[in-house]
């Protein structure tokens, strides 16, 4: 199909249709990461090598977020960030896709619901495939303040960390975390901090900036389809990636339904403990070998 379109494009224009596109178009791929120097005239010194431009993609997983996604995208637009934005519509049953199409927003739609992790991983795969250097992962429910993105990206862009984890507990928390959730976070915070030998205050945060190496690490089977939280942080740590927490602003969810809550809380706790245990088991087995 793509070959057919490409050849059609060639016939129409006499050139390859997949050109570096303005505005960070999706198919600009690796070609557009290079900002070349002006064309050299005959006899002039050889042109300076192309300077790679770092490209960042903001990945927003969304499941039934027709009410929130518009606000998130408007906020991002108002900030005037130069990053591309990709919304991963996780088979929403509401009008999320229609809203995205109407806005001309770049998005991928999963034909079946994969869960939060599956949607985020799709964004990672997309970023790797399209040659992005960094990804900012944020939720489509308005809880993550886009104004925190520059601060979140800074350590990753500066090469000081491979993962910048947005923390609501060292940043500004604009709402009361329910008791049970707070208890869970405290529990996983202790476990993660103990094994990482590094203080992590918000191991369940989904507001993160990631380097390309991390994206490549996540595109295989290590990334869970439902809740990528503390287990993923530990796996990253054991794989040698540098993680740093950055203060961010998190706000309360005002509309729509959270992926946590109800009986899912108990599933989450049980699954997370098992997943952490498995990460530790794999790590110590590797160490013994």
């Amino acid at each position: 199909m793509i070959d057919h379109l490409v050849s059609l494009g060639r016939r129409l224009t006499g050139r390859d249709p997949v050109q570096p596109a303005s505005g960070g178009s999706a198919s600009s791929a690796a070609a557009s990461v290079l900002e070349t120097s002006p064309a050299a005239s005959p006899g002039a010194l050889p042109a300076t090598p192309p300077v790679p431009r770092k490209r960042t993609l903001i990945v927003i997983p969304a499941h039934n977020e027709e009410e929130n996604i518009v606000e998130v995208l408007d906020e991002l637009r108002s900030l005037g960030l130069e990053h591309d934005v990709l919304v991963v519509d996780d088979a929403s049953r509401d009008r999320t896709q229609a809203v995205l199409q109407r806005r001309g927003q770049r998005h991928v739609r999963l034909c079946t619901n994969l869960g939060y992790g599956g949607a985020v991983q799709t964004g990672f795969k997309y970023a790797v495939e399209h040659g992005y250097d960094h990804v900012v992962q944020m939720d489509g429910d308005c809880q993550h303040d886009p104004a925190s993105i520059p601060a979140l990206l800074q350590p990753v862009l500066a090469g000081e960390a491979d993962v910048a984890l947005g923390s609501r507990f060292i940043g500004k928390l604009c709402y009361d975390v329910p008791f049970l959730r707070r208890l869970g976070i405290a529990l996983f915070r202790s476990v993660v901090s103990f094994f990482m030998k590094q203080k992590i205050t918000d191991p369940t945060s989904g507001f993160q900036a990631l380097d390309r190496k991390v994206l490549e690490f996540f595109t295989d089977d290590t990334y869970p389809m439902d809740y990528p939280d503390s287990d993923v942080l530990l796996a990253l740590h054991f794989a040698g990636f540098r993680i740093r927490e950055v203060p961010v602003v998190m706000r309360p969810r005002t509309r729509g339904q959270s992926i946590h809550g109800g009986w899912k809380t108990f599933y989450y706790l049980a699954k997370m403990f098992l997943a952490i245990f498995m990460v530790l088991l794999r790590h110590f087995r590797r160490k013994i070998r």
Binding site: I2, L12, V18, S27, V88, V108, L114, T122, K125, M225
Partner: protein, 130 residues
């Protein structure tokens, strides 16, 4: 166990085994998934023959109630089959996840290329060119 009961159990077991083999023959079950079923079927066929003859051995091994031991073996066989199904489900979910993700990314790429082609195919003025 009387001879009649043994015969009935044996016939049922053989019928069950033949049913499984027929499903494999008709490709309703692939061979790789049928191995455990066929193995268990053969074991059940042997049951009416060995029940009673192994009681002395089992008692010597400390089994107080030999029929319970046969039930345990049957239960373990069924658990093994369920475990195999869970492994297969995990593999299938992994494969369908990858397929769904790739499909979504490719769809976006096709949509983008189609838009680009439509733009290139339109008159220069519409493309913003002079």
């Amino acid at each position: 166990m009387t001879l009649q009961v043994r015969l009935v159990v044996f016939l049922i077991s053989v019928a069950w085994l033949l049913f499984v083999l027929r499903m494999v023959k008709n490709r309703k079950i692939w061979e790789r998934y049928a191995i455990l079923w066929v193995g268990l079927g053969f074991a059940v066929c042997l049951m009416p023959i060995i029940v009673g003859k192994t009681d002395a051995v089992l008692t010597a091994l400390g089994v107080v109630h030999p029929p319970s031991f046969y039930f345990l073996i049957g239960l373990l066989g069924v658990l093994l089959i369920i475990l195999q199904c869970t492994v297969e489900i995990t593999t299938l979910v992994r494969q369908s996840r990858d397929a769904v993700q790739d499909l979504a990314i490719l769809r976006e790429r096709v949509r983008h290329l189609e838009a680009e082609l439509a733009r290139l195919g339109s008159p220069p003025a519409a493309r913003g060119e002079r």
